[in-house]
């Protein structure tokens, strides 16, 4: 039945994963029972055969690469856990949270804020692991060179500029920068004409380069990778960097262990992630040196700030 | 449309040999009436009449006239002569078929062409009105020493309004003489040949 989802997401695996016979059987009417068995997975009746582990990711950085390379993660996971693994790309933050709640996704790579949202809406969800860099993640404030601002730690100078965040519920592109702005005495919603929401870190860079917005903020990891790749317009200048905070993490759904038939799923996932050898393609894909364990309490501050800024209800 | 053979001369000029501007000038000297089908029903009568002067007007003046009708006295005078002065500001589509035909003639009157081509201008009219219309049609051209060329089916109208008659059957000229010299036998023979 995962095939159906793959067809929806239009991924390259659409054909190979979907046995034509099952579709025909569906059309013939036998599918009613089949579908009932599958969709009933959230109900009390446990399926007789273990289902696949459904992995998803929110599109924060280069979703296009994520989509192409996540196959590697799925394969590695599948080999290590000996369960079938399916990757479902999702284009929308809110959709990822909702799909985690409905049980359509078992294991999701969430940002700090979206992870908190998903955990609050899905009782029993547990954080599994995060990257070493996520323990002390930062955001970078950038300004257009025409503003003439020299790098500084004084965020108050930004208050008078046209300013754009990234995606609305991005931790590194919205939540934490807004928090540090407020700490510095700048109203995070108060820029001239109101703040913009570019939708992605790359769009933030392009908009600040164009000068339509004079300043913006983005994920430090993306900033570094774009700077190293020479993809940053010279009109964009680094202005300040935030203090560190805890960000991305893997979150496991409450029904995953039961559904996949692996009772100690969380521990085995943690073992898999923390046991990845240096230089493994998975680590490379995530731009990390290692994965480390993470607790729900590591994101208490994010939850608090989210409530404070009205992003967690 | 270029002729397949020979040349066409209109008012002494060969349209195919003229530049765009010259051809437009030539066209302005020729007025045509096709059973009122050339009118724009959504426009007010005054604009439909004024359309006769589009050849002289600049684009800006043409556009402005749709807001504030230009040269109103001439338009009203022309409409007066076709008996429609009181309908000048109605939408043309609200008029009857006969009235619309007279609007088309009013357009011709403001255009002041040297040559008028009229295709069966009398076919939808009662006899009294048909006489009236033909008299009006001839006026603008005749006043300037030009001509009215018209297709008619009623020999009576031909005798009363025309100077020369040309009979066509299957694309050939089978009859061509002054109306004064037209005899009943000519007509009988012509209609016999045309059948």
């Amino acid at each position: 039945m995962g095939a159906r989802r793959v067809a929806r997401s239009g991924g390259p695996e659409a054909q190979s994963l979907l046995p034509p016979l099952s579709r025909r059987a569906l059309l013939a009417g036998a599918g009613v029972a089949l579908a009932a068995a599958v969709t009933g997975c959230g109900g009390p009746a446990a399926p007789t055969s273990p289902g696949p582990l459904r992995v998803g990711a929110i599109p924060d950085q280069d979703p296009e690469v994520l989509q192409r390379l996540y196959g590697a993660v799925a394969d590695a996971l599948s080999g290590a856990l000996d369960v079938e693994v399916e990757y479902t790309p999702v284009t929308d933050y809110a959709a990822a949270v909702s799909l985690f709640r409905t049980g359509d996704l078992d294991l999701v790579w969430f940002g700090g804020l979206t992870g908190v949202q998903a955990r609050l809406q899905t009782p029993g969800a547990e954080p599994v692991a995060q990257r070493d860099i996520d323990q002390a993640f930062t955001s970078v404030f950038v300004v257009n060179a025409a503003t003439g601002l020299a790098p500084s730690d004084d965020l108050t100078a930004l208050a008078l500029l046209r300013f754009t965040y990234g995606s609305e519920t991005s931790t590194s592109g919205r939540l934490m920068p807004a928090w540090f702005l407020r700490e510095a005495g700048v109203d995070p919603q108060g820029f001239p004409g109101g703040p913009g929401f570019s939708g992605s870190h790359d769009a933030t860079l392009a908009l600040v380069a164009s000068g339509s917005y004079q300043a913006g903020v983005l994920n430090a990891q993306v900033w570094r990778s774009r700077t190293e790749g020479g993809a940053v317009d010279p009109a964009v200048v680094r202005y300040a960097e935030t203090p560190p905070y805890s960000d991305y993490h893997w979150l496991l759904g409450p029904r995953a262990a039961e559904r996949t038939g692996v009772p100690d799923l969380r521990d085995r996932l943690l073992d898999f992630f923390s046991g990845l050898p240096a230089g493994s393609p998975v680590l490379e894909l995530f731009g990390a040196g290692a994965f480390v364990p993470v607790q729900a309490s590591d994101h208490d501050r994010i939850e608090e700030i989210g409530r404070d800024l009205g992003l967690v209800s | 449309m270029p002729p397949t053979a020979g040349t066409v001369r209109v008012l002494g000029a060969d349209p195919a040999a003229l530049s765009g501007r010259e051809r437009r000038r030539l066209r302005a000297r020729v007025g045509t009436v096709h059973q009122a089908l050339e009118l724009v029903g959504r426009l007010r009568v005054v604009h439909d009449v004024n359309a006769g002067r589009l050849a002289q007007w600049s684009a800006a003046r043409a556009a402005w006239s749709l807001v504030r009708p230009q040269g109103l006295p001439e338009v009203l005078a022309a409409l007066e002569r076709v008996g429609l002065a009181d309908r000048a500001f109605e939408r043309t589509e609200r008029l009857s078929g006969g009235q619309r035909q007279r609007v088309a003639i009013a357009r011709l009157l403001v255009q002041e062409p040297d040559l008028v081509l009229a295709d069966e201008p009398a076919s939808a009219l009662d006899p009294v009105l048909a006489d009236r219309v033909l008299a009006l049609l001839g006026e603008p051209a005749l006043a300037r020493g030009g001509a009215l060329v018209t297709a008619l089916h009623d020999p009576g109208l031909v005798r009363r309004h025309c100077g020369r008659v040309v009979g066509l059957a299957e694309g050939r000229v089978v009859l061509d003489r002054p109306v004064a010299a037209l005899s009943a036998s000519d007509l009988a023979e012509f209609y016999g040949a045309a059948m």
Binding site: P12, V90, A94, R101, G199, S212 | V46
Partner: protein, 535 residues
């Protein structure tokens, strides 16, 4: 007659049609107010510094990504998009046919209150954009393919019901009354007396909806339902313009196929071949459509069971519990009021831009009747292709690239919608121009009028009515589309809705959605009155 001719007439006066005059002045005032709201008369609106960013987007149009792997992904995605469009349209037609019976005047007869109530009910599904439906349905159905099918089928079904009802209501009543008088029941009389004369219009509209559904399926993909739109959203998020253009071209191709097929069928319907036998082309179209829909249901693995499963019921209860009752705190209502004004201004500017562009481009875009020079044909094809691209690039993409060269505010969103709507309206205007009587213009050319003069007097007065009517109809659509631009961040009620949905404040989201529905309904009312004044 002579008496009339000789009558001395009182000098006539130019009397404007007061109602139309009032509508015209009102429209001009609203436009000025909207332009002022968009900041056109206060300070800089253009940002020349962003031309390089815009240029990168534009020049990528000439070098789309063509590597085999990406094209393969696009081809498979296109299949998903087609499947969603076909299944969604099929559902819309079923709902529309059933709904039409409920909202047609024929059903209600003189019971006007019932008729108005039925129409009011339809305004709810119609007032929400497909993307909004998609986001709501994801929360209930999760990753089930029904999300995409329902997100297209529900709003389209409501629009189709209204249009079908209008088409059936416009059929002359004679045959129907005769059947009723002969003792036939209402349904039977409608089946024999009303449906056959309306069938052509119904089929033609159904095909038009299919083309719209392809574009909607792409927008749905952008919010996560798979297909071309999903690929487009991925490439868009990392600003890979070469890939974005490849997806746009693929979408244009799909739209073109739907458009050409629809045009062929419409032409067949307008001038059926003189034979008593069934028209093979039409039969093949209907059969092909049925096969396409069957394939789509199979390809998407649609199963009716998941609509009524226990999980769906539980999720529906969850969402309903969170969303009801709607939030009514004063702050939220005030914000909605302010943003509703933004939304209206945005839609007005968008329609004005689209209308201006459509009027200018309709002439060149229309296929000339009869013979024409090859230069004229090339220009026509180019303009039509350009309009196709304008509507194939989704409004959120337009919004971002216009934001490169314009200052932030309502204007980039409004122009993004305007450009997109121009793509749709320009085509409709060109078709309206093609259907005009060519004789008045020919006559004006014959009396020596300049091309501009002939156009002003022979085309504009005739085309203005239908084109304005289309523009007013698209105004209502534009209100819904502002939500789409807003969803991806360009202001108005859409931006508020996006933020309520992102923070899972369902009660507030319900209030915003209700405001959008009411706004759409009000605009529908105004545009309906305006259309009546035009007639």
């Amino acid at each position: 007659m002579t008496a009339v001719l000789d009558r001395a007439a009182a000098p006539p006066v130019l009397r404007r049609d007061r109602r139309r005059w009032a509508w015209g002045v009102g429209a001009a005032a609203v436009l000025l107010w909207s332009l002022a709201g968009a900041g056109l008369f206060s300070g800089d609106v253009v940002n020349p510094g962003g031309t390089a960013q815009f240029g990168r987007f534009a020049s990528a149009a000439l070098s789309p990504a063509l590597d085999a792997q990406f094209l393969g992904v696009l081809a498979r995605s296109a299949l998903v998009t087609v499947a969603y469009a076909a299944a969604g349209t099929a559902l819309a037609l079923l709902l529309g046919a059933a709904g039409a019976a409920l909202v047609s005047r024929t059903t209600w007869g003189r019971r006007r209150a019932g008729w108005l109530a039925a129409r009011g009910v339809l305004a709810v599904p119609r007032g929400l954009h497909e993307a909004v439906w998609g986001l709501l349905l994801v929360n209930v159905l999760g990753l089930d393919p029904w999300v995409g099918v329902l997100a297209i089928g529900l709003p389209y079904g409501a629009v189709t019901a209204k249009v079908f009802a209008d088409l059936v209501d416009e059929v002359p009543r004679g045959a129907y009354r005769a059947l009723r008088a002969a003792g036939a029941g209402r349904p039977a009389a409608a089946l024999y007396g009303l449906l056959p004369p309306a069938a052509g219009g119904l089929l033609s509209y159904a095909l038009y909806r299919l083309e719209c559904a392809v574009r909607s399926a792409v927008v749905l993909g952008m919010v996560g339902a798979g297909g071309l739109g999903y690929q487009l959203a991925l490439s868009f998020a990392s600003l890979r313009w070469e890939q974005v253009w490849s997806a746009v071209y693929a979408l244009s191709l799909l739209c073109l196929v739907a458009d050409v097929a629809g045009r062929a069928v419409r032409r067949r319907l307008a001038a059926p071949p003189p034979s008593s036998r069934r028209d093979p082309v039409l039969t093949a179209t209907v059969a092909g459509t049925v096969v396409l829909v069957g394939w789509s249901c199979w390809y998407l693995a649609l199963s009716p069971a998941s609509l009524v499963s226990e999980r769906t019921a539980a999720q529906l209860a969850h969402v309903w519990g969170a969303a009801w009752p709607p939030a009514t705190d004063g702050d939220l209502l005030r914000t909605i009021g302010v943003l509703a004004v933004d939304t209206v201004q945005m839609s007005v500017v968008a329609i004005a831009v689209a209308l201006l562009g459509a009027v200018l481009l309709a002439g060149p875009a229309a296929r000339p009747a009869g013979r024409s020079s090859s230069g004229r044909r090339v220009v026509g094809a180019l303009v039509r292709g350009g309009l196709l691209l304008l509507r194939a690039v989704p409004p959120p993409v337009w919004a971002l690239v216009l934001l490169f060269v314009l200052m932030p505010g309502v204007l980039p969103g409004a122009l993004a919608l305007g450009v997109y709507t121009l793509g749709v309206l320009g085509r409709l205007a060109a078709e309206a121009t093609e259907e005009l009587d060519p004789r008045p213009r020919a006559a004006l050319t014959a009396l020596g009028a300049r091309p501009v003069g002939a156009w002003l007097y022979g085309v504009l007065p005739l085309a203005a009515g239908p084109v304005l009517a289309y523009a007013l109809y698209r105004w209502e659509v534009a209100i819904r589309d502002t939500v789409l631009v807003g969803l991806l961040g360009a202001g108005g009620l859409g931006a508020l809705l996006a933020s309520e949905l992102a923070t899972f404040d369902w009660a507030a989201a319900t209030t915003v959605l209700a405001a959008v529905v009411v706004l759409t309904w009000l605009v529908d009312l105004v545009s309906d009155r305006a259309r009546a004044a035009l007639r």
